[in-house]
């Protein structure tokens, strides 16, 4: 009798778990299209707006600093340093924000659309964690020692973020339609690409 009761209890438990799992499945699919597009935009904004090597070089390169120093005015040098510090901090905080958004998206949605090996998943998780630590360290260094505290570290952080973006880009590749080159180069009246 006891065996029958425990057997029924285990069976009922499994059935409940199955029902819960079935109910959860559609909610993942529903509403995910918007999140996919948002993730794709976040990725593009990182790749196009924040990580290009030219921009990183302009913010952290020393040519402008050399020019300002050659003028020999403390007032100008202080203004330049405070402006560059402000820009560098905006840059790093935007990268942190976007990377965090991508991580949340990857954890909750992206993994369901792509088949990834456990090793790959682990490697991406390590990359996200590493990038978060790098960003925090960079933010601290910039706050403490100014925009030129660790330019090489900033460049390497941008490269790491770029590498992670291209990995995630592959998992969202199905969102990029095969637009012919001629149509892709069309631009709208406001200068946006059509």
């Amino acid at each position: 009798m006891m065996e029958l009761v425990s057997f029924l209890a285990v069976g009922t438990g499994l059935l409940v778990l199955l029902l819960v799992a079935m109910r959860r499945q559609p909610s993942h699919a529903a509403g995910s299209a918007g999140e996919l597009v948002t993730a794709k935009r976040t990725l593009e904004s990182l790749q196009v707006g924040l990580l290009p090597a030219e921009l990183v070089e302009q913010v952290f390169g020393r040519q402008d600093l050399a020019y300002i120093s050659s003028i020999g005015s403390n007032k100008l040098t202080n203004l330049f340093m405070s402006e560059r510090k402000r820009l560098a901090l905006i840059w790093i905080s935007q990268i942190r924000k976007q990377v965090r958004a991508l991580k949340d998206f990857h954890v909750s949605r992206s993994r369901m659309f792509t088949h990834m090996s456990r090793w790959r998943e682990f490697s991406i998780a390590l990359d996200f964690a590493g990038l978060e630590i790098r960003c925090r360290v960079l933010q601290f260094l910039m706050q403490w020692r100014g925009p030129y505290a660790a330019p090489d570290f900033a460049r390497r952080t941008a490269l790491t973020a770029g590498r992670l973006c291209s990995i995630l880009d592959q998992s969202l590749a199905f969102l990029t339609p095969g637009i012919p080159a001629q149509l892709g180069s069309e631009s709208g009246a406001d200068g946006t690409t059509l």
Partner: protein
């Protein structure tokens, strides 16, 4: 096919603008300000009577937007030294007295409304920040009183 034909029109209009109008500007900052002034504040559309008469208002609008974007990219790629020169050139082209120019630009920051639509916020902030420094350089250049050197 229609899109392709339209694009050819836009390219021709942009070329026309680059050949006939833009060479008369003093530099890339002057071009940016000029092209931004062609944009209607209420609609965001660019208006150029002559270009619209030769092509069409839509084509003229797209051509102006393309050239505006181009001059913005040109400016953001400049080093601070070159940007300061551009600002100096622009100031001279307006014929305004340096003191008045610096004061007006510091108070009004007109460059903030001169960026093309859809510009990345960090890139725009980068240009604003560099222009702010370039303005301080200009102010120092034209200041009659030299800054006192700090005591050792």
């Amino acid at each position: 096919m229609i899109a392709k034909a339209k694009r050819a029109d836009v390219l021709a209009a942009s070329e026309d603008l680059r050949r006939r109008t833009l060479p008369y500007t003093s530099g890339s900052l002057d071009r940016l300000i000029y092209l931004a002034s062609m944009r209607d504040y209420n609609t965001g559309l660019y208006v150029h009577q002559g270009l619209a008469a030769r092509f069409s208002p839509e084509v003229a609008c797209e051509a102006l937007a393309d050239c505006h974007q181009e001059s913005f990219q040109e400016l953001t790629s400049l080093q601070l030294k070159d940007l300061a020169e551009q600002l100096e050139l622009y100031m001279r082209s307006t014929g305004t007295a340096p003191g008045d120019f610096v004061r007006a630009w510091k108070d009004l920051a007109p460059y903030r409304v001169a960026v093309p639509v859809g510009t990345d916020s960090l890139l725009a902030e980068f240009l604003f920040s560099n222009l702010k420094i370039a303005l301080a350089i200009l102010e120092q250049r034209h200041s009659p009183i030299l800054e006192p050197t700090p005591a050792a």
